[in-house]
Amino acid sequence: MEDGIVLTMRGICKAFPGVKALNNVDFTLRKGEIHALMGENGAGKSTLIKVLTGVYEKDAGSIAIEGCDGEAKIHSPQQAQDIGISTVYQEITLCPNLTVAENMFIGRGKGAIVHWKEYEKRADEILKSLGIPARANQELSRCSLAVQQMVAIARAVDMNCKVLILDEPTSSLDDKEVARLFQLMRDLKAKGVGIIFVTHFLEQVYQVSDRITVLRNGELVGEYEVEKLPQVELVAKMMGKSLDDLAELERIGQKGAVSDNCVYEAAALSSSECRPFDFHIRGGEVNGFTGLLGSGRSESVRAIFGADRVTGGKVRVRGKDVRINKPHDAMKNGIGYLPEDRKRDGIIADLSVRDNIILALQVIQGMNHPISRAKAEAFADEYIAALQIKTASQDTPIKSLSGGNQQKVILARWLLTHPQYLILDEPTRGIDVGTKAEIQKLVLKLAEEGMSITFISSEVEEMLRTCSRLIVMRDRKIVGELSGDDLTQAQVMKTIAGGEQTDE
């Protein structure tokens, strides 16, 4: 193996039933570099990582790692760890019922007896040196998600790894935590660790990375040095198309006519999870809830849909008083809700794409009016084509689709019920730029056709692009409403921060 190279993957192929996830992909990691692995959802990033860490067995190709002669044998995560590959996955892969120290040291080391006191001392030292606000003997489930993520990183860091894989490590961290993580990455880089960094955030790539490898549709697009690849070009390479689509969207904004009649009105609506709030939306309007994570955005729309226990308030749909106590009530009143947590609340993993699509319609029609097979197939075909869902067939289980395509299936499920009012809670989370643009355009198109849409996203730019009215939340309360000329990023930030913002 050449000097300075810590890992080479050559000609990696991996197929799943019906999908070729990786086709002849090469990847090279040098010592002491931060190497970003980029690509849209379903481009094969995760598959490549999982092949490297032994979760999947590759179909063809070779992997060589510094310090091991010839082909590296990686058949299990354990073996990957042993030869110096540490991984921090996007979903937190720790055990909530164990302590922080146990999570950092379990599955490592030899010998039958564990000296926890010693481990706890070491864990405390590591946590302190990395500035992670957790204690070694704390139960992991008592830590916030961000801290859990950092514990996972601390574990990986402590393993003296040659290759550190960070798969979307920043998606649950706030800016300060991200900055700390980046510092950590630079420190490790200085120590000669090769870091593979997978992320959706383009700016972050340019902040820390030295090199970028781009994948598309399971194939290698190329390897580039960061300085030589402007951001626009990177996006173009990831999408395989020009950026005009996004730019155009920026210009359009919402232009469809908004009717004066409220499709949905709520007065002092409250649920077990949120305080009373007033809300309304007009026909053909796109509005949105914004605020920090945990500010009550999702809880509010869940109350509207009746997904949480509704505890009070008056609701009027198209001028008529109605009671919405459970999702079924909301659906009968023409309201659809695309939930925030796609895996938990959205998809039924083992059902086919078709069954997932017709689910909501079937519920509305009731058990006594089954949708015929032919009809279901026609519906599925129609929406797979309309939303350009990439799936092997409509019989494919939804779990084998990529995140963006799963999201489109859920979207199709609601569109099929022809709702008058559709709530989209983080529809673009964890989805690549191309699909994001598609979904944004779709939202605007639906609004033009007269549908009312409430759109929630963590990305303010995206909300500004699509919404004509923004409801700003802080600490589980509505603190402001912006529309017209006030719809600027600065104004949104100011409202979120409120009068008492102090720069830290």
Binding site: Q78, Q81, T93, N97, L127, E177
Partner: protein
Amino acid sequence: MFEKKNGAALRTREPLTDTQMLMFISIGIFAAMYLAAVLFMGGGFRKPQMFFDLLNDNAALIIISCALTIVMITGGINISVGGVIGLTTMACAIFVNSRSGESGTVSILLTLLLALGIGLGFGILQGFLVARLEIQPFIVTLAGMFLARGLTTILSLEPVTVSHEGFQALVESRVKVPWLGYVAPNGNLIPAKIEIGAIVAICVVILMALTLHYTRFGRNVYAVGGNPQSALMLGINVKRTVFWAYVISGLLSGLAGFVFLMHKPAGNASVAMRSEMDAIAASIIGGTLLTGGVGNVIGSFFGAMILATIQKIIFLSPLNASWWQDMANGAMLCFFILLQSVILMRRNNSKKAGNLLKNLKIHRADKAPAGKEDHHET
């Protein structure tokens, strides 16, 4: 901000984990129940011997509760334990009778090996099916239970009473605990007596508690039960861990069969019928969650003792009938599950609230007092 928090936190005690919390609840309930029995039932409960009788009579139950606890922590279940006890007692009774007239110690050791061997066989078979072939543990062990009961009946339809003299001597033997005796009316001190089986059971509990707490394997068991996918990613050999959990469970069932024979020296096709259900109840009362990842054997020990105490109280009360006992056990189980879920729910809520508070603190300045938020600009 973090450093400051860290420093302050190091001095504070960690809150109890769910496992510890549930264990302390069951210990507390056992203590309260026993105390109530001493105060209101009087009689036998006033003598220390009563406590040891509970141990003596329920040694096998305590051991299989441990056997269930370890697989329940992995998120599985083992309902073959009662069947294995039945098979072991029958096989051992026949075997030891066949060696009548031969040396006591050797026969007993061979019988013990036979018991452990049967248990081990079931453990390995079930462990293989559950861990390697990933068949539902409930189904695997249900089949194991039928198999064991069937084999027992094949061995003998009639009850087999142990006639081996050496073994009978073992059955009769008691360890005296003189400092916990009671003074008879005539002034003689009558020491409390404890059977060998009860001592074995207590050793098993201690050994299992140490194993689960201090060995790498033990912690892996918790990790696998907490989140198998994560455990795999953390580099734990999930299949091997689950396999060994079932092997240990089987081994303990075999041992429980031997202990059972030491308490009631007869093999019988219907021996320890339904005892797996009692063991599951004991584990749950002791704080083991069926969902896995939470529980420990000390809790299960007290769970078994709680069931034993209920049994004794009803036996000594005017309500002495098996249905009252079943209903009392059922009510107890229900009460416990309710108590557990209420407590866990409250804890989880406070956890969530705590995390939310932390997140807010990260985002916002510390000095904004809570009250001020109520009247800010529009």
